[in-house]
């Protein structure tokens, strides 16, 4: 008996006004012309509710790039789902925010790239920071939950205390301090993003202090830096165990990056029902449970906690999606992660170029990393 999925991640478009250097979208983006229509999404949301899911997380790209977002939020609420909008905030002002709230939006998760405007715009590859601050004030006028998300990495982690204080004055219920996860664009840019061990230790202390200080006011959630961990992360809470992700073109994936795994066929909501895909598709069954596990996972006590780690990371780093996640200290291929850490902790690693005062100048720093592009 396969338990029901808990949540839908609706990647409704890959179009985005930002170009963040650590974007979790695949490097091969879905074209705008292939996107599901409004009625196709409404149908998928209905199916999600019937399948017992509780949450719909609208993400992208930038979900606000879809003019029908308000209809989709209303559709999710009608299907009995809790609605979460994961956004850069670009494209959102008072009128549209009011419409989204009226349609039943429960929660906004707004991303910030930094507390400092120049660095924030440099990381995003766009002038977005000032608008986000203004939008935060608007959000607080509505009775919806508000989370501020901040991705941390080598280029901003040294002033994490300042960034936490910055988020605090935006008065969210929750802040999510997320270490960069190395897939897609972030993997391309890893040398410029992976922090040193000393940076990580200071950051961990800063988060622990903030958690204590803000208890009861702002909940602090933390996404772990798996390269420095002893055991891998329980990616997606286990393959085909909790979550279904639908990409802009309607392909149903067990996680954000699954399309990088060769040999897997992903079904489309245009051809199959979600119920069928969850229970019977070969892609969702491929790494579900423990049958697929190699040693040392198969006999490891941790396997019920981390499910062998992340399949996509295994593929990206070792070329073999069935390998133990190399982030695990027990993995045969752990030396790959160790080599990246040696590089990050050596003096030769890329450091931050001279701060520039305007975005025009910031563009010149592009040689440090590749900005996320947009789909055709």
């Amino acid at each position: 008996m396969i338990p029901n999925p808990l949540a839908l991640i609706a990647e409704i478009t890959h179009r985005c006004p930002l170009h963040c250097v650590y974007c979790s979208n695949p490097v091969e983006l879905a074209a705008a012309s292939s996107e599901l229509s409004t009625s196709e999404w409404i149908d998928v949301l209905q199916q999600s509710g019937k399948l017992g899911m509780l949450h719909a997380h609208f993400t992208g790209g930038e979900p606000l790039a879809r003019p029908d977002l308000t209809e989709l939020i209303a559709g999710a609420r009608a299907a009995g789902l809790y609605t979460n909008l994961i956004t850069s905030g670009i494209g959102l002002a008072e009128t549209r925010l009011q419409a989204l709230v009226d349609a039943g939006l429960d929660h906004i998760q707004l991303s910030f790239q930094d507390s400092r405007e120049d660095t924030a715009n440099w990381i995003a590859g766009a002038k977005a920071h000032a608008h986000k601050i203004e939008l935060s004030r608007l959000i607080r006028r509505h009775k919806i939950a508000f989370t501020v998300n901040l991705v941390v990495h080598r280029q901003n982690i040294d002033h994490l205390d300042e960034m936490i204080a910055f988020i605090e004055q935006l008065a969210p219920e929750r802040m999510e301090i997320a270490h960069t996860q190395y897939y897609g664009w972030a993997l391309k840019n890893r040398a410029a993003l992976l922090p040193t061990r000393a940076q990580l230790e200071r950051a961990t202390q800063a988060v622990a202090a903030a958690e204590k200080r803000l208890a009861g006011r702002i909940r602090v959630d933390f996404v772990v830096p798996d390269y420095y961990a002893r055991f891998p992360k329980a990616c997606m809470g286990g393959w085909g165990r909790r979550l279904m992700l639908i990409n802009p073109a309607g392909k149903v994936l067990p996680c954000h990056a699954a399309e990088v795994i060769p040999g897997l066929e992903f079904e489309s909501v245009r051809e199959k029902t979600l119920d069928f895909i969850w229970r019977q598709s070969s892609s969702f069954q491929r790494f579900r449970g423990e049958e697929w596990m190699p040693e040392p996972c198969r006999s490891c006590d941790q396997r019920t906690q981390d499910f062998g780690g992340c399949r996509c990371q295994a593929l990206l780093l070792t070329g073999d999606a069935t390998a133990t996640d190399p982030a695990c200290s027990l993995a045969p291929a752990h030396h790959i992660v160790e080599a990246a850490l040696v590089e990050a902790n050596s003096g030769a690693a890329l450091s931050r170029p001279v701060a520039a005062s305007s975005f025009v100048q910031l563009q010149r720093a592009e040689t440090l990393w590749s900005y996320r592009t947009n789909p055709e």
């Binding site: 949450h55 809790y82 429960d106 929660h107 939950a145 989370t147 219920e173 929750r174 208890a215 009861g216």
Partner: protein, 91 residues
Amino acid sequence: MPPPEDSSQPRLAAGCRWGGAEDARVILFPEGAIKLQGTGRQVLERCDGQRTFAEIIAELQAQFSEADPTKIRADISQFLEQLRHKRIVDY
């Protein structure tokens, strides 16, 4: 953040609400849901922003008259404080 006072009026925090079927009620919040059965559900159903903490305690002490009233009070206080830390309840 201190535990609730007698005059506090506990309520669900912004963006947290009831969901699920009648026989499997859950509180939905941004990144999850908690299943509520028995006394937990009875406490949270009274967190309507109208009743005071003292009133909620009194109602449940009356309903569970066999149990130690001091323990009921301490348990509910701790329960609400924990939910406040998760930003599911405000008071």
